[in-house]
């Protein structure tokens, strides 16, 4: 008996906080953390709409579930590659701060 709007507001707020984290943190891992929070907000949104859609249609719907699963897969792939990149960069540059990774700067 929870209004759909609550979930949407929550997801929007989580997305906004995640965006803020991703934009402001200097540490590359911090940026990744922000991206994870944004993806999580997307999952909440997708599943809330899935619930709404099943309720409106009255029959089981699978599109929303598939979408959410794909988001999970993307999140897992993104984190593994992102962290591998950060570790690799840390090995060479001895820093995980995104600002200091400026080898290409003239």
């Amino acid at each position: 008996m929870i209004p759909l709007g609550w979930y949407l507001i929550f997801a929007a707020a989580l997305f906004a906080v995640g965006l803020f984290t991703a934009l402001t943190r200097k540490n590359a891992i911090g940026i990744l953390i922000g991206v994870e929070m944004m993806l999580n907000a997307v999952i909440v949104n997708l599943l809330a709409f899935w619930h709404y859609w099943v309720q409106q249609a009255g029959v089981p719907q699978l599109d929303g579930l598939t979408f959410a699963a794909i988001v999970f897969v993307v999140a897992a792939a993104e984190t593994s590659v992102g962290l591998a990149l950060i570790i690799s960069a840390y090995r060479r540059l001895h820093t995980a701060v995104a600002n200091d990774m400026d080898l290409l700067k003239g």
């Binding site: 929870i2 906004a16 929070m37 999952i43 599943l47 897969v73 570790i87």
Partner: protein
Amino acid sequence: MNALQIIFLVVAAVTLASAGFVAGARRTMHAALWLVLTLLGVAILLATLQAGFFAVVQVLVYIGAIAILILFAVMLTRGLTEEQGAVHHRWWWLAALAAGGVFAVALVILNRWPGFQVLLEELPREAEAMTDWGLALVDPMRYLIPFEVASVLLLAAMVAAIYLAMSRPGGQS
């Protein structure tokens, strides 16, 4: 205001508060630990949506794999990155403005949509239809291609991660 709504409000408040701590924590390790609490709160909210499978997968994938990996990475890259000046960017207020703007725009757009106020009823137990979904995922007429693309993506990510993180003997690292 029934019990479910109270649960939702409490969990949402805790989740958003810990999300705020993630954004504001001074040490990256603390941000990662608060992230775990945020993810756990989201998992509970998914359970209130009657997506039990996804609630468990959220704990399994996000906390069990992603958060642990992030904690690992923080511990591996610690030392030099901790306690050296500000952890936030100089123009953090610009980012706050952008995030607030996104939130406000989302609220305005959602508010104009009539479905906003709809109460989510309790679904019949078979609504999640895991068996149907599993069959649909391998059905060529339905979701086989997204499913395969997802698995190829995971494989590619695995190969990429191993390649990137591998230390080559005699390499340039």
